[in-house]
Amino acid sequence: MSVHKPLGGRILTAPFIFFGIIFLIGLYFMAQRFIYGMGAVSNLNGGFAWGIWVVYDVVIGTALACGGYALAFTVYIFNKGQYHPLVRPAILASLLGYAMGGFGAFFDMGRWWQFYEIFLPWNWNFNSVMLEVGLCVTAYILVLVLEFSPAYLEKIGAKRLLKTLNKLLFLFIALGMLLPTMHQSSLGSLLIVMGYKVNPLWQTWQFQPLLALLSALTMGFSIVIFEASFSTVGFRRASETPLLAGLGKIILGLLISFLLVRTVLLVVQGNLGHLFAGDRASLLYVIETALFLIPVFILASPVNRNHGGRLLIAAVSMLLGGALYRFDAFLFTLNPGVGYRYFPSVPEIMVTLGIVSLEIMAYLVLVKTLPVLHREEHA
């Protein structure tokens, strides 16, 4: 007997229609991209070959989708079974986030009709970080589908298949922890070869994968808190604050590690001076660090950790900090050389908003029709 149940209720709510309209606008520009080429809708150029489609949809989008990954560690490694109710909604959000990242990567591919070339072993270049990212993200999307499939199998009552799957699920759960460790760190490694183009405040060379991984885990836990708080308010469900409070302690450790590694590297790698340069990069670095420090101060107090509202502020601050860390490194402070500038075009932004809208719509439909959310005690 499952401890999860569908929320039920109407599908065509006002928010759903709102996101539907944004999605349709995005779809219109997506069609243009496929008909006339990327230049017709995006401001990508010779120096900024990666814009928001890569940096937001893939690099930030998949980090925001690390909820399932972060929670899996808590539940299955640290054996905190009480978090189990949060796992399934987190897996769903991860699945949708990664599917969005995969889709984003596809329409950002300049030669999308040849996408399968990356799956042909005789093409593989094992020196390439991008190869690791491409294959590993694809594998993880498949793992997420399997991890989430019990929800669907319960719904259709496929008991035997469910039983078999449950017996093997431990293997997929383990893979579901290994694969994000690999590709989330690799997303940071992409910056290494970009060398001087990456601002010294963000170019940590061989420590890129470590910082990317630590911040991805932080973002993963934050999104679990964010989504749980949001379901509580949005769907008028009982608060899960006591559950979330415990996560706060783990996040505190991750945040302090991230800030410590970064600060030590800033000194050791001799880039402290850039922090006091008083330019745009140093300002962004300070804002980023503040966004990571706010949750440290909030979460340090047990009283705050048990306060739903403050917990949510901490989570949002961390999400913004993690997103800004990626935006800064890949876009905002990137210097590909004289003469190149980039700001996303309106159609480019609409495509991204359209995909995010699709993700939200899918989440709304699935939690209403499939057993995803935790059955409330008094229900």
Partner: protein, 323 residues
């Protein structure tokens, strides 16, 4: 193994990984029979014959700006311009090869790196360095268009055709791409062939480097007999007064060196060259990747440990695991 022990082991393995990753592989060395070009900015008169010839070889249209149809007006590299001549101007721009109140020309085209980042980052091996000649070629038939080569290239050389429905990456392939193969046929690059002053000189990298070093030793004001065309078999020479060369051969060492090298009388950062050290960033990135993924050993150990712990922890609960 207890969970705590597993975590300790995992943390230990991670630290070892981070530690050894610091030791990246050394830079790649120049190919055995590397060919390249030497661009001497002080010889360049900005005639752009090389730009026109390059377009002819690669079947690319000129860039027209306004009513100006006499010259190709390309200002930078693009998917339609694989070689371009740029101008440095300062103050009154009165004299050539002078940094203050002077001017000079600078060529932009693929540098054919000895340790090319574009080759290192390409997931599908669509960028290749010829093991014999060191020429970096592009193979669109396997390219997925991820554009990591563009982000990795310190010179912003590879350019994507954004304005085509089915675009591709374009870059200089030293006139040796399939269908052109000038080098294989014993010819020189188009740009070197048409250069009237020998500012763009073709030849084996070793010979070009020797020629560049020789020029560094010349005294300003002396007369030197400059070769044109191919440094190993010049089709002609011309005499010219030696300028005040800066003792810097761009591409001898930058990011592992390049097969296309530049010399000049004006510092290269003024000419728009990027701030590069001697270490190739590709060597650092590959060092990290190969430390973490050597024989897939670390991922395999991690997976074994994770599987064991997850299996044990889900057994305690119920067989439901995830559900």
């Amino acid at each position: 193994m207890k969970r705590r022990d597993f975590l300790k082991a995992a943390a230990g393995a991670a630290l070892c990984g981070a530690g050894t990753a610091a030791q990246a592989r050394p830079n790649l060395q120049p190919a055995e029979k590397a060919v390249g070009m030497l661009y001497d900015s002080t010889l360049c008169i900005g005639c752009k014959a090389c730009v026109a010839k390059c377009k002819e070889v690669n079947h690319m249209p000129p860039v027209i700006e306004g009513d100006q149809t006499t010259w190709d007006s390309a200002r930078g590299l693009s998917a339609k311009t694989l070689n371009v001549i740029k101008v440095y101007k300062n103050g009154t721009a009165a004299s050539k090869d002078v940094e203050v109140n002077g001017f000079c020309f600078e060529k932009r085209s693929c540098m054919h790196c000895v340790d090319p980042a574009c080759v290192s980052v390409c997931p599908v091996t669509a960028m290749r360095r010829n093991p014999l000649t060191g020429i970096v070629t592009h193979h669109p038939e396997v390219c997925i268009g991820c554009r990591n080569c563009m982000m990795g290239c310190p010179y912003d050389v590879p350019q994507f055709e954004y304005n085509k429905t089915f675009g591709q990456i374009q870059k200089c392939q030293m006139c040796n791409q399939a269908g052109v193969e000038r080098i294989d046929k014993g010819q020189m690059t188009g740009c070197a062939e048409v250069c009237p002053t020998g500012a763009t000189l073709f030849g084996p990298r070793k010979a070009l480097l020797a020629e560049a070093k020789r020029r560094m030793t010349l005294k300003p004001g002396e007369i030197y007999n400059y070769p044109r065309g191919d440094v190993s078999k010049p089709y002609s020479h011309h005499e010219k007064v030696v300028p005040a060369y800066l003792p810097h051969i761009w591409g001898e060492k930058e990011a592992g060196g390049t097969n296309v090298m530049h010399i000049s009388a004006i510092p290269f950062d003024k000419l728009g060259m990027p701030p590069l050290g001697e270490r190739s960033p590709a060597s650092i990135a590959e060092g990290v990747q190969h430390t973490l993924y050597k024989y897939m050993a670390l991922p395999a150990i991690a997976l074994a440990g994770l599987t064991y712990v997850v299996h044990r922890n889900t057994d305690d609960d119920n067989e439901g695991g995830e559900s």
